[in-house]
Symmetry: C2
Subunit: 329 residues, 2 copies
C-alpha cells in the first residue's frame, strides 16, 4: 500500500495524496476529502523509511546508555522517550556496555542509522574515544549529554553538581555526629572523581583526620556493596558512617551492617546517591542524594527538541542536588 495505490484509486496524482497526508494547503476541499476517505478506508500508513530518505531526517534519536538494566539509567531513557514521542521521534535505546570500543561502536551505529540526534546518558561518555567518535560520526547532529559534557560545537551538557552534593552528604553525617566516614565509589568516571573530591574537600573542611576517612572501590551491585562493607568493618571497626556513590552498593552495605549486628543509623549512618527506587525497598529505607534525574531528562529532551527545531541553546547547564533523607541517616 503506497501513495500510488491511493492516488490511482482516487484518480489523482501521488503528489496530491502526499499533500493530503502532510496536511499541506492549496487544494480543493473536495479532493482533500476524497483522498482522505480512501486513506482511512485502506488503512494507509506512510512508510517512515522512505520519508526519511526523501526528507533527510529519520525521526529517530539514539539514547546511549551504559547499562539499561540499571533503574536510574532506564528511568532517564523512559522520560526522554516519553517527551520525544509526541514530536514524532522514536528512540533507539541502546545498551553500550562499559568498554570504550563498545561505546564507539554504538556511536557508529547511530551514524549508520542516520539518527537525527543523540543523548548520552551518564558521565561515562565523557572520554577521549567517545569525543573522537562524535567528531567523526555525529558532527552534524545535536548531541546532548546528561551528567556530562564534551567540548565540541554540537554537544550540549546538562551537568549536576555532585561534588557539592557529596559535600552536603558529608556535612549531614558529621552534623549528626558521624565523623569517621568511608566513601564507596565504583569506577573512575569523571562524575565519580568529582564525588571523591567532594568527599575529601568536605572531610577536610570538617576537620576530620586523614586517618579517619577511607575510600573504597566497588562496582555497581548489591553483592559488591555487601562485600565492601564487610571489608570496611573489618579494616576499620570504628567507622561511623558511609557514603555510597551508588544506591545499589548502599543497599548491599545495609545488609552487611545488619548481618554484623550494627544498628542503623545509630551506630553507623549511611547515604547513597541517585535516589533510585531501591531506596524504598531496603530496610531501613536508604537516605540518598537526589541528583535530579527528573530535571536531567526534562532538560535533555527539551534541549534536543529545541535543537532539532533549529532553535539556539545553551552549551551547558548546571543542576544542583538535594538530599532525600529516609531512615539511614
Amino acid at each position: 500500500m503506497t501513495i500510488y495505490d491511493i492516488a490511482k484509486a482516487a484518480g489523482v496524482s501521488a503528489c496530491t495524496v502526499s499533500r493530503v497526508i502532510n496536511g499541506k494547503s492549496g487544494m480543493s476541499e473536495a479532493t482533500r476529502e476524497k483522498v482522505q476517505k480512501l486513506l482511512d478506508e485502506y488503512g494507509y500508513t506512510p512508510n517512515e523509511t522512505a520519508r526519511g530518505l526523501a526528507n533527510k531526517e529519520t525521526k529517530l534519536i539514539g539514547i546511549l546508555i551504559l547499562d539499561i538494566r540499571y533503574t536510574f539509567h532506564i528511568q532517564i531513557a523512559y522520560n526522554i522517550q516519553s517527551e520525544l514521542l509526541p514530536h514524532g521521534y522514536c528512540s533507539l535505546i541502546l545498551n553500550t556496555g562499559h568498554s570504550d570500543e563498545k561505546k564507539v561502536e554504538a556511536i557508529r551505529l547511530m551514524e549508520q542509522r542516520r539518527v537525527d540526534g543523540v543523548v548520552l546518558v551518564g558521565s561515562t561518555f565523557e572520554c577521549e574515544s567517545v569525543k573522537n567518535a562524535i567528531k567523526e560520526s555525529l558532527s552534524d547532529i545535536p548531541v546532548v549529554m546528561t551528567n556530562g559534557y564534551l567540548p565540541l560545537p554540537n554537544v550540549h551538557g546538562i551537568l549536576v553538581n555532585e561534588k557539592e552534593g557529596i559535600e552536603d552528604c558529608v556535612r549531614l553525617l558529621v552534623d549528626k555526629g558521624h565523623h569517621k566516614l568511608a566513601f564507596v565509589l565504583p569506577n573512575s568516571t569523571r562524575s565519580n572523581l568529582d564525588k571523591r573530591e567532594g568527599f575529601q574537600t568536605e572531610m577536610e573542611r570538617q576537620g576530620v583526620a586523614r586517618e579517619s576517612q577511607w575510600i573504597y572501590e566497588a562496582s555497581t551491585s548489591v553483592e559488591d556493596g555487601y562485600q565492601i562493607m564487610t571489608k570496611i568493618l573489618k579494616d576499620h571497626p570504628d567507622v561511623e558512617g558511609v557514603v555510597c556513590a551508588e544506591d545499589l552498593a548502599a543497599v548491599g552495605a545495609i545488609r552487611a551492617l545488619h548481618d554484623a549486628g550494627k544498628r542503623i543509623p545509630k551506630e553507623i549512618a549511611l547515604i547513597g546517591v541517585d535516589n533510585s527506587s531501591c531506596c524504598e525497598m531496603c530496610y531501613p529505607k536508604l537516605s540518598s542524594l537526589n541528583n535530579r534525574m527528573e530535571q536531567l531528562s526534562n532538560e535533555a529532551s527539551r534541549i534536543l527538541i529545541d535543537c532539532l527545531q533549529g532553535r539556539e541553546n545553551p552549551e551547558r547547564i548546571m543542576l544542583y542536588c538535594t538530599i532525600q533523607e529516609r531512615e539511614t541517616t
Copy 2:
C-alpha cells in the same frame, strides 16, 4: 558521502562500490582493493535508511513493553537486544503504558517504521484490541510474545506455566505449616488469572477452608504492597502466609509486616513472583517464583531470528517455573 562519491573517486560505477560494500563476488581483486581503500579512507558508512528502502527490510525490530521502568521487563529487552545486535538488528524498545489505545498506537508505530519483527513482552498484550491491531498492521512480519500468545498465523508464543508455579508456591507454604494464605495480584491479565486459578486449585487440593484464603488486588508498586498488606493484617489477623503475584508488592508487604511487628517467615511467610533483582534488596530477602525470564528472552530472540531468516518455527513453547527460596519462606 554516498557510494557515488566513492565511485567517482575510484573511477568505477556506484554499482561496483555497492558490490564491494556487500562483499559480493565477481570482480577483480584490484578494483576491490582500490574501492575498499577509499571506503576506509573516507570513513564511509552506508545509509541504513536507503538500504532499508531498497531491500525492503529495515533491520529494525520493535520490543513493546508495558513499562520499561520495571526491572523484569527491561531485563528481557536487554537480553533480546543483545542477541539481535550481532545479527545487525536494532531494537526499538517502546514503552506502551497500560491502556489498550496506547498499545494499539505502539503497534501502528511499528507498522509505520516498517520493522522486520516485533516482540511483545508480557501477557498484557494478550487482548482482543492488540490481536486486531496485529492483524491489521503487522500481519506480514513475525511477532513473538513472551509469556503470552494470540492465535494468529504470524504470532509465536513463549508461555510460562505460572498456574503450576503458583500451585508450587502454595504447596511450599502449606508444607512449611502456613495454611491460611492471602494472594495479592495486580490487574487481571491472562497471566494473573492463571495465577489466581493456580492459587485456588492448590488451596482446595490442600484442603484449606474457603474462609482461610483471601484474594486481594494491588497494583505493581512497593507502596501498594505496603497498603494492601496492612489491610490484610487488619482484615485477617490470623493470616499465615502471602503469595504476591509480583515481587515489588511483596517488598512493600515485607515492610508492612515488619512495621506490624510480625516475624518473617516464622509467623508469616511470603513469596513473590518474577525473581527480580529487588528480591535481594529487601530484608529479609524475598523468596520468589522464578518464571524463567532468561530462557524466555533467549527463546524469543532465537525464534525471531529463525523467522527472519526464513526458518520454520513452533507456534508455541511452554516453560516451567522453579522456586527460588530465600529468607521469607
